[in-house]
């Protein structure tokens, strides 16, 4: 299989779906050149810097038979659109008793590592998990990104795709266009099998967890790494089944811990009597420190989790 970058995989998903369905169009505050070239300015619409309006217009267009894609660029910029996301998009299907479907894809970059400081390095996806009515994908590989985006565009609901800023230039194997591979929303993937401990990792942290697992294999610790890929809805079954097998859980997330996706994952394991009974040690989380993300390299690196901190965390759970 050919290898392409995460960024390229995202673009291919959009191109393939726009070719497939004339009702798909794209809004972003800057036109994406290959989309503008292929589909023209009617379908690759450069908008004013008015994310709230873009977000709401996507709802209206979706309710009128289109499948809009609204690209916020960074999650940071969608906060001016919170009314449209929280009060409108997340609730419109339900509030009106399911009269109409609203197929919308919202895209946003998340995560740090770019020395971009507090406003441009955040991972606030759990704020959106808190809203029923939104589906949320958080892909960690080019293949997952492409397959999940294609499913998201074909889904009849608002879906938010949070895409890792640190992952854009990472490469991976991706089936070509003919394969038309769809990865279903709501299905986790076991990225590495192991027996001693389950590490549920999100987005960029998946790669750090895999690196930690490699290090620990040399110490005789067998780590299973699970990537939920979709965080709303969460694939609780795959996570619980893994923890039933290993009896230990560590959650690794580039976001902060408080009310985070990591908290939700820890809860679903401890709330389920059968899974809880199999736990041999307390659940541990390795997340960002609970501060806004700082700028200076030494500060930023200190705040984020990484493979070393994940490996230390695994050793601690094994010793507990």
């Amino acid at each position: 299989m050919r290898e392409i970058t995460y960024a390229q995989a995202g673009l291919e998903a959009i191109q393939e779906e726009m070719r497939r369905d004339p009702k798909v169009f794209y809004m972003c505050t800057d036109a994406i050149p290959p989309l503008a070239k292929e589909f023209g300015t009617e379908r690759m619409r450069a908008t004013p810097i008015a994310e709230s309006t873009m977000t709401g217009m996507a709802i209206g267009a979706a309710g009128s038979g289109y499948r809009p894609i609204c690209d916020w660029r960074q999650v940071t910029f969608c906060f001016v659109a919170m009314d449209q996301i929280v009060n409108q998009a997340a609730k419109i299907t339900y509030m009106f008793g399911g009269q109409q479907k609203f197929p919308i894809l919202y895209r946003a970059g998340v995560g740090g590592g770019g020395r971009l400081a507090a406003q441009h390095s955040q991972s606030p996806y759990s704020m959106f998990m808190n809203m029923s009515g939104l589906k949320i994908i958080l892909p960690s590989t080019p293949r997952d990104l492409k397959g999940l985006l294609k499913s998201a565009i074909r889904d009849n609901n608002p879906v938010i795709s949070f895409e890792g800023n640190r992952l854009l230039q990472t490469k991976g194997a991706v089936p070509d266009a003919e394969a038309d591979e769809l990865i279903p929303l709501g299905k986790a993937e076991v990225k590495r099998e192991g027996n001693d401990i389950t590490v549920v990792a999100l987005a960029w942290a998946v790669h750090e967890a895999l690196a930690a697992a490699e290090m620990l294999a040399k110490e005789g610790i067998s780590v299973e790494v699970i990537d939920p890929r979709t965080i709303a809805p969460l694939d609780a079954e795959t996570i619980k089944a893994s923890v039933m097998k290993t009896g230990r859980l560590l959650v690794a997330d580039e976001a902060g811990p408080v009310c985070g996706a990591s908290a939700e994952i820890a809860t679903l394991v401890s709330e389920d009597p059968a899974t809880f009974r199999k736990l041999k040690a307390p659940v541990k989380r390795v997340c960002a420190l609970f501060v806004p993300i700082p700028y200076s390299p030494g500060l930023e690196d200190h705040v984020f989790p990484n493979r070393t901190k994940i490996a230390d965390g695994i050793r601690a759970v094994m010793a507990a």
Binding site: S52, G60, S64, D83, Y94, G97, Q99, K135
Partner: protein, 324 residues
């Protein structure tokens, strides 16, 4: 096009339906059959009816928290509306929405909205869809004077003007946002029409209680929109007769004589249309009474329908979070 007597009588019928529907909704609210909150549109009927009278099937509108009038004017079914207010399974939203969230997507009514200014960008998106469809469809955004002071209308008038979207922004300036007079919070003594100039689009201020003025302004704006010439801002000056909501014990600081003044026959939009039709020999007192009885019967039937419809089962709360 000048409005013929038949059309005018139909418009009168719709205006009277809105008024009687809300009188009943208010009574049933106080009787405990309707829950939460009800915002009445009484006194402003000419705007919804005049504007929707300039639209075709397939055109789309969005409403506000004060949505019954827009629903009825766009052809929504009274039975399903009343059933929704009663919280019943046969309501428009299966009892999930209530007064603030009635929508009828088949009729092009994209919903009332509980967030002030929350619907403006949604219906601007519907206008974009209409433009992409290329079939001459138009969209209408109703919003209040209160909503005019929030960000969305500015963003939306800008993008609609830049993209020449087929949309009409209809500000229902009833001069108050809840208890707060527009003159104290809105620049230019509470006049909104001047905004249009900033976006290079036509702006007209009209007497919103004059069905002829509303309809004429709407027709012109709709014609422009259909012809691909872009948006229009209409500021329709009006007044709400009742308190901001029906909730008991809500203060209403508006001067008594101001309220009574707006209810006088020379300002009441329905009385004005009745007088016009009578003067021209197109309506008699007996005919208007018969029309009113018809309206009251339809509303009585809608209440019976609502009463007969079962409440949703508790577990129905779990349905419709996502579309299939």
């Amino acid at each position: 096009m000048p409005l013929g007597p038949n059309t005018l009588r139909e418009m009168l019928h719709t205006m009277q339906t809105i008024r009687r529907f809300e009188e009943r909704a208010s009574a049933d609210y106080h009787a405990g059959k309707i829950y939460g909150v009800v915002h009445c549109y009484i006194g402003e009927e000419a705007i919804a009816v005049g504007v929707c009278g300039a639209l075709r099937d397939g055109d789309q509108i969005i409403s506000t928290h004060r949505g019954h009038g827009h629903c009825i004017a766009k052809g929504a079914d009274l039975d399903r509306m009343m059933a929704e207010l009663y919280g019943r399974r046969d309501g428009y939203c299966k009892g999930k929405g209530g007064s603030m969230h009635i929508a009828d997507f088949e009729k092009g009514m994209l919903g009332a909205n509980g967030i002030v200014a929350g619907g403006i960008s949604i219906v601007t998106g519907a206008a974009l869809a209409a433009k992409l469809d290329g079939k001459g469809g138009v969209a209408v955004s109703f919003f209040g004077d209160g909503a005019s002071a929030a960000g969305p209308i500015h963003e939306c008038m800008n993008i609609a003007a830049a993209w020449k979207l087929p949309i009409i922004y209809v500000c229902e300036n009833n001069q108050y946002a809840a208890q707060t007079p527009a003159s104290t919070t809105i620049a230019r003594q509470g006049e909104i029409v001047h905004r249009a100039a900033g976006y290079g689009i036509p702006g007209v201020a009209i007497d919103g209680n004059d069905i002829f003025a509303v309809h004429a302004a709407a027709e012109e704006a709709v014609a422009r929109a259909r012809a691909g010439e872009g948006p229009t801002l209409i500021e329709a000056r009006t007044y709400r007769w009742r308190a901001h909501t029906e909730r008991a014990g809500q203060p209403d600081y508006r001067p008594k004589d101001e309220i009574e003044g707006w209810k006088s026959p020379d300002r009441d939009p329905i009385a004005r249309l009745v007088a016009h039709l009578k003067r021209d020999g197109h309506l008699t007192d007996a005919e208007f009474e018969a029309m009113d009885r018809q309206v009251l019967d339809a509303i009585e039937r809608s209440c019976a329908f609502a009463e007969k419809s079962p409440f949703p089962a508790p577990d129905d709360a779990l349905d419709d979070v996502f579309a299939a």
